[in-house]
Symmetry: C2
């Protein structure tokens, strides 16, 4: 598996955990030893792993948890860190969307999430065409 495939696999695992509202899968998606940064839409930054996971427990358990779909935007590499940007939207809503930057780094032989930073964008900001080719620098 190429590094690019490994990164996309980790990113897909994150979104499957989100879509399936699975806290154990979300817990597994995040690194356990590396520095973390999680910024949910409208919320302050979190770094302590216990705070990050508590926030996901709340998001996934909330009745307003989106029925999420996503579209890959691009991948940016800085050394050991890969940032994957994605558009996200709730299948039940047509008026709103999010743009997220998801960071992955290698821990114990596999890529795990170390950054999630999401904020609102108009649904019209999402490119209608098929996702542009990824730029893995």
């Amino acid at each position: 598996m190429s590094v690019r495939d490994e990164i996309l696999f980790a990113n897909e695992a994150f979104y499957r955990a989100f879509q399936g509202r699975s806290f154990p899968s979300m817990d597994k998606a995040w690194a356990t030893k590396l520095p973390l940064l999680c910024i949910h839409p409208g919320a302050p930054p979190l770094s302590e792993r216990s705070h990050v996971m508590a926030s996901w427990r709340e998001v996934l358990g909330h009745e307003g948890c989106p029925d999420l779909d996503y579209q890959l935007d691009r991948v940016i590499q800085h050394g050991e860190l890969y940032l994957v940007t994605c558009y996200e939207w709730d299948r039940r809503r047509t008026d709103a969307a999010m743009v997220a930057a998801n960071g992955y780094a290698r821990e114990d032989g596999m890529y795990r999430m170390v950054i999630h930073h999401a904020g609102p964008v108009p649904r019209t900001a999402i490119p209608q065409a098929s996702p542009s080719p990824m730029n893995v620098h």
Copy 2:
């Protein structure tokens, strides 16, 4: 100068360019060769340097450009990349604020901006106490 001081110096240079609405200073703040990622509030990701700088030319030249102030939140390190999170607000408004993740990496011997990702937070999300001690991992 310690690495921590160099990072904070680069971050301060970014905010001074923003506060002074100086396009040349903003242009100088950003790396010229490294991969970039710029996500303005409510806008799609930008990576091409010409697009990133065009967006800043628009922001800085816009009559609605905020009279910006900021408060440092934390610093997270991943290899060569340092992410500095900050709260930002417009001195003319009391109802809104932003949280930003600013990424810096070394290029030609100095740290330059490679990531800026900002989104809205309620003004009440900003800690009232003095900034918490930075966690440079």
